[in-house]
Symmetry: C2
Subunit: 513 residues, 2 copies
């Protein structure tokens, strides 16, 4: 007999999904058992669902195809929601398999019963609940197709336990047509526009435009027309370093972003969304499109055609000087220079450095070629799980997780999965003993925290958190660095040895002055 | 000027809510700042939202009134959902304050934008979003009233950032009428029923019936009528130990529960829900009401009246012999005996021992009087946060968290809040290096995991997790125990010293065969 759980795995494999980041429970036990007869599916145990969903996001950003997650009913999916939110904002293809109570058990409102569809809807994902055991194969196929459409998205298969353990038909469903990619303005029209507007036109690059090829084409276009280009604030994946043209990113702080965009009469979105501020602030605009400016759309696939149409010469790389290792006590700038100087070729950076990362883009512009994965949806606790997924997707590439202390704790058990799978991840904790971004934001929203009560909610001292001790508890070798020299030595050693390492880098909080 | 945030705090205090378990972000900064002018509101920083919501649940179970949480938009609430699910199943009163984008920023779909109401609905809670700044006071008042109704529930105030920072009217709203408590059968009719059916009638005790007074009245009723009584499987709060009559709990395993209920013709629910199994299993019933049995309802408030109406004599305590400290390597039984033997008077046990806790109820029946808080909704990761909340609610009572290893990791940063607040909590990790409950459940759902792939998802070794190292990283003193003597010595020492302690007790997984 073929069980429903076996059909799910068969159809996932047929759809090219062969990694499953899992945190199962009772309702998923038949899926777990079915893994023994499906050696091509790699199960990766995560100790919290937010690690599983974040890892699937990181996997998708690097592999360009979906991983599955295995989650336990509504509460399990709830624990994974924040990183599904980030995955949604990254347009990452991702297939959740969520076990549910047996169909006849569901009306009894047993303790773990809840509305799983509502959670999947919250993440703006597609929901695929088979109506009968015969429908399981089609549900899985449609979920994989939905996830891998253009753009990628979060698809959720809800699998009742009785369907999972009962007999099911493994016949594949008829594949549906792939959706066409988003169309944009005609290349010739964009060429005319950019020639006409010059420096008053601005390309905002996002999604597929942030590959080395896209960024190179954008550099040719700007060189040929005088138009400007910026990369979106939080790219899902951004090519960087020597050989890749550097474009500034649109700033996180609305005031700075407004300044970058000022004077623009024509904004051309190339895979990016129209820019808005992260938060509202009293008396400041939230929509960053300059008043009176026109907004246009160019399909990312047309960027190279545009460069060719313009007759733009090939891009010639003139990278900034490669950084050198600095010295002295760590500060918000020199730690980034250490990383940049020692960054290995083809590294993947999972960047959740937050306020500590202010000087990172400038430092790494002349570093070895690498990819950067950023916090797309603002839901903190993404960095370590995304590093797990990236390392599973690219076992031959070094992964560097640059991780703010406060955010690290949301999904800290990701360290254990790094140890279990012996992933080649070097975690650098930027430990400023504070929710430093909130100390900054407090001023920006026009208030202050001068009292003991409010300050107690923004600092992470009393007691200080010892990340090296925590990492060792999860089986990850760890050290602490207080100077640039120590960080350099420990970073070199971590890169030289296979498997995960953590460096607790004590970096004072950045201060505007 | 009085800001909206200040009005929220004022009205919470007016409603008796004076503790706030907080994990704020930018949209909550004015609430944070407003705390400095509201010294009566105690802010407690949690490093993950699931800790905040679980702590508020634990606080409510002990204090009998709601705490507030402070959560950051939809993703922050999402991180807190699993423990809101448990709080909902515990009928705990709880008031979430969730910051939202400014009203005019919300339509821009900024990165952290999501449907907060959908999350509050998922937890079956009431939602209170003020329509204008003038409406803030009324929204808070109605939230507190909703939370503290009969039964208690999760109420969520959604506070747009511009309402929070703008001027608002602090006039209190007119209080609404409290809902009446659930009515049940007339006392005289229940008395007749129990006299008539004798041992074929069974009282299922839940909610308010699980106080010492309720359990005592139930013991008088069963003594007078021959009827039987059981406590619900996962009580929110259960009085236990010397001076309190012991009633067996309805078993978690459906087979055992069915045996306990067999022969029952009349089931009387006293504050409990009609019993169903936690999960469905192939070929086994999910509804535990014996076929043909009638189900009746008695209001918990009427339990003592029923005992008096029956002319039942006063309860005379004859507790089991107090346990003594055992010796030898730790096993699933003797660790529970150590705790029972050394349990201090008026202790609060937060019980998420799961499979390791099988022998705990028998061991503690003759222990010092105490309260037990159990995993009401099955969403693991409740135990440590609930211990935080209980300790904040009752600073004069020792709190003991009996915590399974796998479940501990979902909300492990609760340890830091114990250290920050110097809470008198002794955490005992029952470390069997496995998701032991899943190894059990795998057999029960009629399948097996004999292969490497499936077994890798059920064991927590490779590498073993060192909870003492993790606890020290969070600032909690920690030790490891391998024998009953070591556990006893370390447990005594932890109880003798103020502040939190963790004992990593290495207890082999229980095995049925």
């Amino acid at each position: 007999m073929t069980t429903g759980a076996q059909v799910v795995i068969e159809r996932l494999l047929a759809g090219g999904v062969d990694v499953c980041f899992a945190n199962p429970g009772t309702s998923e036990m038949h899926f777990v058992a079915a893994l023994d007869s499906a050696r091509d599916m790699r199960p990766v145990l995560c100790l919290f669902e937010g690690v599983a969903t974040g890892a699937a996001d990181g996997y998708a950003r690097i592999a360009g195809r979906p991983a599955a997650t295995l989650l336990h009913l509504g509460p399990g999916m709830a624990n994974g929601l924040a990183n599904l939110h980030n995955a949604r904002r990254a347009f990452s293809p991702l297939v959740n398999v969520v076990g549910d109570h047996a169909t006849y058990h569901k009306p009894l409102d047993a303790p773990l019963e809840s509305d799983i569809e509502a959670l999947a809807d919250w993440a703006h994902g597609s929901v695929h609940r088979p109506a009968s055991p015969a429908d399981i194969g089609a549900a899985v196929d449609s979920a994989v197709q939905s996830a891998t459409g253009e753009p990628g998205r979060v698809a959720t298969i809800i699998l009742p336990a009785d369907f999972s353990w009962g007999p099911a038909d493994s016949n594949p469903a008829v594949p549906q047509q792939q959706q066409a990619a988003t169309a944009g303005m005609a290349v010739a029209d964009v060429a005319d526009l950019l020639r006409d507007r010059g420096g008053k036109a601005l390309l905002l690059l996002g999604g597929p435009a942030n590959t080395a090829a896209g960024l190179t084409a954008a550099a040719r276009v700007t060189a040929a027309t005088g138009a400007r280009a910026l990369v979106e604030t939080f790219p899902a994946r951004l090519a960087r370093g020597r050989g890749v043209p550097h474009h500034d990113r649109l700033a996180y702080l609305g005031e700075q972003a407004a300044e970058q965009l000022s004077g623009t009469t024509d904004l051309v979105l190339v895979g990016a969304r129209s820019p808005v501020t992260f938060f509202a602030y009293p008396g400041k605009p939230g929509d960053l499109v300059p008043p009176g400016a026109s907004v246009h759309v160019l399909a990312p696939a047309d960027l190279e055609k545009l460069a060719d149409h313009l007759g733009a010469p090939p891009y010639v790389d003139s990278p900034p000087t490669a950084p050198t290792v600095p010295s002295g006590p760590l500060n918000p700038q020199n730690w980034a220079e250490v990383i940049a100087a020692l960054l290995p070729e083809r590294a993947i950076i999972s960047d959740e450095a937050n306020t500590s990362g202010l000087f990172l883009p400038a430092a790494t512009a002349g570093a070895a070629p690498h990819d950067v994965l950023t916090l797309t949806g603002g839901a903190i606790g993404q960095g370590l799980p995304v590093a797990v997924g990236a390392a599973v997707a690219a076992p031959d590439r070094p992964v560097i997780a640059l991780q703010a202390d406060g955010s690290a704790l949301y999904t800290i058990s990701a360290l254990w999965t790094m140890a279990r799978e012996q992933l080649d991840v070097t975690v650098v904790i930027l430990n400023n003993h504070a929710y430093a971004i909130l100390q900054l934001e407090l001023q920006r929203v026009g208030t202050s925290a001068t009292g003991e009560q409010s300050r107690s909610l923004l600092d992470l001292s009393r007691p200080d958190i010892d990340f090296a001790s925590i990492a060792q508890g999860f089986g990850v070798p760890a050290t602490r660095a207080g100077t640039a020299e120590e960080l350099a030595e420990q970073f070199r050693a971590a890169l030289a040895e296979p498997g995960p390492h953590l460096i607790d880098a004590v970096v004072p909080a950045w201060s505007a002055g």
